[in-house]
Amino acid sequence: MATDSHSTSPPILPRPQFETGFAGWMRLNLFSTWYNSALSVTAIVVLALTVWFGLGWVFLDADWSVISTLGGRIMIGQYNIEAACPGQNCFWRPQASLLLITVLLGMGWQVAGGGMAKQFALLVGGVAAAFAFLPYGLDTMGMDVRLLLVANLPALAVGWSIARYTPLGTASRIAMLFVSAFLLTMVLLRGIPGVPFLEPVSVIFWGGMMLNLLLAVAGISLSFPIGIGLALGRRSHLQVLKLLCIVFIETFRGVPLITLLFMSQVLVPLAFPENFPVNSLYRAAIVITLFSSAYMAENIRGGLQSLHPGQAEAARALGLPGWQTTLFISLPQAIRNVIPPIVGQFISLFKDTSLVYIIGMLDVVEISRAFIQGNPEFLANAKELFIFLALVFWIFTYSMSTVSRRVEQHLGVGER
C-alpha cells in the first residue's frame, strides 16, 4: 500500500483547558479518581479542623507569659546572673557577638547580590531589632539591651558597606572572617582577666540558645573536615591507618552520645597534660565533634563509593597524582552526591547539643525544664514553653534545609 502523505503537517494545538492552571492541578492531583477524591476531602476537612482549633488555642487559650517570665535566660542561660557577672550587666557581650554575626550576614548579602542571602540577612537583623520593642518595662529590659538589639539593622548596613568598599568582599575572605568572629566571640564571652568590662565569666554559667549555637557551630565546622579525613583514611591502602580509622568510626558510632558526654568528665582530661584545665564546654565540644565526625565519615565514604571509577581513572591517566585526583575530582563529586545526609547529620548535631544537660550545662531545653520545676505555678504552661522551643529549633533546622537545597541547586546536583 502506498504511504499516506499529508499535504500539511497536523496542527499544533493548545493544551486542553481543564488540564491547566489551578483547576487542572486540583483535578489531576486531588480528584483524579473517586477514592482520591474521598481521601482529598477527608484530608482537607481534618487539616481545616486542626488549623482552626490550633490557631484558636495559640491566640485565645494559651498563656504565653511563661516565655516572657523566663525572658533573656532562654537566650543566654545564667550568663548574666549575679554570681556569674558580679556588679555589672554582662548581657552586652552575647549581644556584641550577635552584632558580629549580623555584620557578616550583611557582607554575605553584598557578595551574593541578593536572593536568599539578602532575605536571610534581613530576617535575622529585622527579628533582632524587633525584639527591642517588646512591651516590657524598662527595668525588666533595659535601654542598653534595646539599643544593642536595634543596632543589628545598621550592623547589616555596615557589613554590606565593608564588603562593597574594601577588599574583604569575597566568599573566601568572609569564610575566614567567620572563623575569626567565632574566636572573637569565644574571647568576648570568656573574658580576659584584668581587663575592665571583660571580666571572666566561667563556662558553667553559659547556657540557653547561645550554648546550643556555640556547640553546634563548632561541632559542624570541625566534624566536616575530620570526617573527610577519616573517610579517606578508611579507604586508604595503608593497613594501619585504615584499621585506626575503622576503630575510631565504629567506637564513636556505637556508643550513644549521652553516654560519651557523661564519660567525658573522666576520659577527656586524660588526653591532656596534667593540671591543664579542660572545662566542661570544651569537653562537650570535643565529644560532640568526634561523635559527629564518625557519622560524617561514613556519609562521605558512601559518596566516594558511589562514584564512577572512570572518573578517577581519567584523572590518573592525565597524570594527576593520587592526592590531586581525590582533592579536585573525587571529593567534590562525592560531597555533591551526599549533601542530603550530610545536612541531615548537621541538623542532628544541632539538636543533640541539648544532651549537654547530662554534664550539668543549662542549654535552652534544660533551662526551660529547670525553670518549670523550680516555679510550679507555671506547671500548667509547660506545653506553651516547649511548643515555643520546638518552634525555635524548627526555624533553625528548616533554615539549614533550605540553604542545603539552594546549594544543591547551585551545584546542579542531579542535573550534571
Binding site: 581519567a314 590531586q324 555533591r336 546542579g412
Partner: protein, 252 residues
C-alpha cells in the same frame, strides 16, 4: 630508571616483552610481545574478552601486569609511582565512556591537568585549551558543562583534554562504541587528523573503514594473544587464521 638496552632502538616508543596478566585466576594476557614505533598508528581489534582493552590499559598502568616488561619511551613500567606518573604525563587516553568531569566546565576539564601537573599559568592553559577546542571543532562549547553536550561533542572534548598534556602517545579504548553513526563520523574525523599529524596512536576499535584509511598496522587479539598482525591491506585481503577470517566476515 631506564630498562636494559637490548634490542631497543630510539624509535621504539612502546616495547612489550612477554607480558602476562591475570584477573584472579583468569589468564587474560598470555604473552604479548610487540613493539610500537614513534608515529605509528596501530589498530587493535578482536572479540570481547580477548584482552585488547586490558592490553592498552596496561600501557598506562590502569592495569598492572604480573609478568614481562612494558617499556614506554625508555622508562620501564613498574610499581614505582614516579615512573608511572611520568609515563602517564606523556601518554594520553580516551575512554569509551568519555569520563569527562561533570562538575567542571568544558574549559576547566581541559585546563585542569596542564595547570596542576605541568604547572602552566592559567592564561596559557586557557589559550591552549581554546586552540584544542578549535582543533576538534567545538570552541563555542567552552563555558558549558559536559551534561549539556552530545556524546560526539563530549568525546571530542575528551580528546582535546588528553591532547592538552601534549602527550607523545595517544591510547583510544573503543572511543566510538557509545556513539550513534553521525557522531562516530565527527570523532573519527578528529582522530584521522590526529593520525596524519604524526601522533603515535593505539586504537581499540571496530571501525574497519577508519583502520583501512589510517592504520599503519592492525593487530587481531584473541584469547589473550596477538593472533595476527599486518598492514590493513594484507589483513583484509589475505587473513591467515580461521579466527581472523571469521571475525572479519562478521564486521565487514
Amino acid at each position: 630508571m631506564v630498562a636494559n638496552e637490548q634490542n631497543i632502538e630510539p624509535d621504539d616508543i612502546i616495547v612489550c616483552r612477554d607480558v602476562h596478566k591475570w584477573f584472579g585466576d583468569f589468564h587474560v594476557l598470555r604473552g604479548i610481545t610487540t613493539t610500537i614505533k614513534r608515529g605509528e598508528v596501530v589498530v587493535v581489534f578482536g572479540p570481547s574478552g580477548s584482552g585488547k582493552s586490558t592490553f592498552i590499559r596496561a600501557i598506562n598502568r590502569l592495569e598492572e601486569h604480573q609478568r614481562g616488561d612494558i617499556i614506554v619511551d625508555g622508562t620501564e613500567l613498574t610499581n614505582d609511582t614516579r615512573n608511572i606518573d611520568a609515563i602517564r604525563r606523556d601518554v594520553g587516553m580516551v575512554f569509551q565512556s568519555f569520563n569527562l568531569f561533570p562538575h567542571l566546565k568544558i574549559i576547566s576539564n581541559i585546563t585542569l591537568a596542564p595547570i596542576k601537573v605541568r604547572r602552566l599559568p592559567v592564561k596559557q592553559a586557557e589559550t591552549l585549551a581554546m586552540e584544542l577546542l578549535e582543533r576538534v571543532g567545538i570552541p563555542e562549547q567552552a563555558e558549558k558543562y559536559p551534561a549539556e553536550l552530545s556524546g560526539g561533542q563530549q568525546q571530542r572534548v575528551a580528546i582535546a583534554r588528553a591532547l592538552a598534556m601534549q602527550p607523545k602517545i595517544m591510547l583510544f579504548d573503543e572511543p566510538t562504541s557509545a556513539l550513534d553513526p553521525e557522531m562516530i563520523k565527527e570523532v573519527l574525523d578528529v582522530m584521522r587528523e590526529l593520525a596524519t599529524s604524526g601522533m603515535t596512536m593505539i586504537v581499540v576499535t571496530h571501525e574497519m573503514g577508519f583502520a583501512r584509511e589510517v592504520a599503519d598496522r592492525m593487530m587481531m587479539f584473541d584469547e589473550g594473544v596477538i593472533l595476527e598482525e599486518a598492514t590493513p591491506e594484507n589483513l583484509f585481503n589475505n587473513p591467515q587464521h580461521e579466527r581472523t577470517k571469521l571475525f572479519l566476515s562478521q564486521i565487514l
